[in-house]
């Protein structure tokens, strides 16, 4: 069974304190791994898609990396506006259906 586990469930950082969010997964064949950001009461906003182990993508203070078992979302020198819930989702080979993790709620304190 395809599974996605995100850790930690919640993370509090001081402004400027870099850290990483983890997404561990099990899947028979991976077609893609996706990261989204979700603000309270809103729909998820697309951040990155990763397709193969070793791939990295960056956007402003965020960098996503992928191995064969997990993905990391690295946040460098975060700001309060980076506070949100970050969702990881995998798309198995041969499927239309995303499997989502429960998310990591990030709070960045000024």
């Amino acid at each position: 069974e395809d599974q996605v586990t995100q850790s930690p469930e919640a993370l509090r950082l001081q402004e400027g304190e870099s850290s990483s969010l983890n997404c561990s997964y099990t899947v028979s064949g991976l077609r893609g791994l996706f990261w989204y950001r979700q603000d309270p009461g809103k729909g998820p906003e697309f951040l990155f898609t990763l397709y193969s182990a070793g791939e990295e993508k960056e956007k402003e203070r965020l960098k996503a990396t992928l191995t064969k078992k997990e993905s990391f979302l690295h946040i460098t020198a975060p700001k309060p506006e980076d506070s949100a819930t970050y969702l990881c989702a995998l798309l198995p080979a041969g499927s239309y259906q995303l499997t989502f993790g429960k998310g990591t709620k990030l709070s960045v304190i000024p």
Binding site: R31, F34, P44, F46, T49, Y96, L98, G101, K102, G103
Partner: protein, 115 residues
């Protein structure tokens, strides 16, 4: 920019009412999806559609139906609303089925309360 819109941000309905949630995308995407999101359970797929008039069940289709008469519009129907259908409903669309066009883009969500 990809734009997915949902007809209502908030809805309050009575038990037993028929409820229609509408979703429109303006990017000529092939695929459209309906999810519900509940605390502690995450996002769960209700139905998806890969073409006009085509639909596939997701993980939790019971109590719901869908309609896709036009490519840009995907409707979720609660035939007889129940209190356990109180939730945040999210619509998404994706361009196609081959990399890199599988990315799903989400609408703002409809928060439904069934009394």
């Amino acid at each position: 920019d990809v734009k997915v819109t949902q007809s209502s941000r908030y809805l309050v309905k009575r038990t037993g009412e028929k409820v229609f949630l509408e979703c429109v995308q303006d990017m000529d995407h092939e695929n459209m999806f309906w999810y519900r999101q509940d605390p502690g359970l995450g996002l769960r797929l209700i139905y998806f559609s890969y073409d006009v008039k085509m639909k596939e069940k997701g993980d939790i289709p019971e109590g719901y139906s869908v309609s896709r008469e036009k490519k840009e519009r995907f409707s979720l129907i609660l035939e007889s609303a129940s209190t356990n259908q109180t939730s945040m409903y999210l619509c998404a669309s994706s361009p196609g089925t081959s990399p890199p066009s599988e990315t799903q883009y989400f609408g703002p969500g409809t928060r439904l309360l069934v009394l």
